[in-house]
Amino acid sequence: MTPRTLSEKVWERHVVRRAEGEPDLLYVDLHLVHEVTSPQAFEALRLAGRRVRRPDLVLATADHNVPTSAATPADEISSRQLEAMTGNAREFGLTLFPMGSPGQGIVHVISPQLGMTLPGMTIVCGDSHTSTHGAFGALAFGIGTSEVEHVLATQTLWQRRPGTMAVTVEGDLARGVWAKDVILGIIARIGVSGGVGTVVEYRGSTIRALSMEGRMTVCNMSIEAGARAGMVAPDDVTYRYVEGRPRAPTGADWERALDEWRALATDDGARFDREVRVDARELRPYVSWGTNPAQTVTIDDAVPDPDAFDDPSRREAAARALRYMDLRPGMPVRDIAVDAVFLGSCTNARLEDLRVAAEVVRGRRVKRGIRALVVPGSMLVKAQAEREGLDRAFREAGFEWRDAGCSMCLGMNPDVLRPGERCASTSNRNFEGRQGPGGRTHLVSPAVAAATAIAGHFALPDEL
């Protein structure tokens, strides 16, 4: 039999129909739904008199739009959208973790916690960061609202078979270099469209040594390289994370599942359409300087000079980005002062991220004048963090300790940057206006975000 890659194996197991000249019809094992990209899909179902085919394979929550503190209530339009989610879940018989429920949180954080995200599954959501779930060896990708409607009605999707790409990272990470730096380093190398049309499989000793949280951070940002999805083959780290989760298989089923999962890894001799190798020893803590996630340098570098780019469109994009970011070429990254620090998002708001950051800020104070926010990825993460006393470390340092949601990652709720404000953010996108109109975003790891909050400018924990 022809050797196959992980993504090809998962794909093949889900083909419902294949015909010449057509995309494949793929079965969807889990459909994650949130309030922002679903209301028009439910409305279309209603108008056509259609039902949800498999309500038991749909998990819904409210995350993008929810306020994260009582002091910042939702506006009227947002409230209407949150109510629509609740109404649609009730009407179509879906499981919803609404605002205020202990199970609520960012959709990509709560599904793995519940044991709903398992190896070998197909998972979709009307959200581009669905790639997060690939950390378990699931094939998971973002879709638009029309496709949300299609999956609700049919539990399937028409998809063209994507290309395959291997990104192999080998070696030990230096102290202070985290999963976030691994993925920022990868995107810096392959570019924001380097993965378009492909599923990226992350391989190598560096990836194997990452925790599930770290692997989720890496897979989460696959879309920032343009990839359809990112995946890591499941291994003992995966199985240890999954075992005992509320919806994970148990007993004899667990053994059966393990047998299937162990067969998922890419076969020896399987070919990828493209292969990229990264030496982990070259990776350092990264800080983005521009307005896309490939415009990054290491914290030891200076802001680049647009004239140093050979390609004219790159040069112009860099010059534009520096104008927007109000940065001068040659300025050392460590000299850039920030107005705000955001610890949160589906990229970096899991317990491990909060532990790392809390360790940095414990017994220290946020630099005067800086607004610093911690927004846990889920209410369960929040509760566990509080049991460990992480909230005290953050609060005593001067951070605001919030409820779960997407919050300042995309500025749909009241947590937004003001025009011109500069933010060190653990989120995934530094696009113009992403965290609020006119706001300036620098992407960093939780460790650098925490250290930056204390120092007032970009810094490493060891430098405090």
């Binding site: 057509e22 889990l30 038991d56 199970g103 519940l114 581009s128 029309s146 049919t154």
Partner: protein
């Protein structure tokens, strides 16, 4: 969806690469529950700059947007497609379109066309030099025509047929109901199901005993 056979008209040249969907329609517009009302949000931030190409009266009423590579990157928001259509665009041409954007566009009958980089460049230059340049895109023939330019583009048969006939995807898929049901019978029984409504909050309590959440 209405059938889309041919798009013809003037062209707006948006000569930037990696235009992400946050620029096409900023997030605060996504709070709406309707499918309409997004035109005022199209490129909202960039339109505040009087020199932005969409503010140039010579391009008013254009049907086609030509953009730099990797147009529509980032967020999966279909609102980006709705905002473009509502603003009068029937086609987007680029040397490379982001995957989700391209899929969203075709689902809505916004003709998303990938052409060779030199073709995109020539269209961009022609529209920049002469805003009255007319371009025609033919779905059946898979061709792009402009004065002195004739090019083809790739579009799989399935997508082409859907556009030409304006087919409803869901109705098409439900013709394969038997295949879907057969697949469902073959799925391993241990695959997870959502906790039933009402019991949902009780479920994650298993989390307590874990060190990690």
């Amino acid at each position: 969806m209405k059938p889309v056979r041919r798009v013809a008209g003037r062209v707006v040249p948006l000569d930037r690469e990696n235009v992400d969907t946050d620029q096409i329609i900023p997030a605060h517009w996504l709070k709406r529950v309707e499918r309409t009302g997004y035109a005022p949000g199209l490129f909202e931030a960039w339109r505040r700059d009087p020199s932005f190409v969409l503010n140039d009266a010579r391009y008013a009423g254009a049907a086609i947007l030509v953009a730099g590579p990797n147009f529509g990157s980032g967020s999966s928001r279909e609102h980006a497609v709705w905002a473009l259509q509502e603003s009068g665009f029937s086609a987007v041409v680029s040397s490379r379109l982001a995957d989700i954007f391209r899929s969203n566009a075709l689902k809505n009958g916004l003709l998303a066309v990938e052409v060779a980089p030199d073709v995109a460049r020539r269209l961009m230059d022609a529209a920049t030099r002469e805003p009255s340049t007319e371009v025609a895109i033919d779905v059946a023939a898979r061709t792009v025509d402009a004065p002195g330019l004739h090019a083809t583009f790739a579009l799989d048969d399935h997508a082409r047929r859907r556009l030409l006939e304006g087919l409803d995807d869901i109705a098409l898929t439900l013709r394969h109901e038997a295949d879907i049901a057969a697949h469902e019978r073959s799925r391993p029984r241990w695959l997870p199901r959502a906790p039933r409504p009402g019991t949902a909050d009780a479920v994650p309590s298993g989390e307590r005993r874990r060190g990690g959440a």
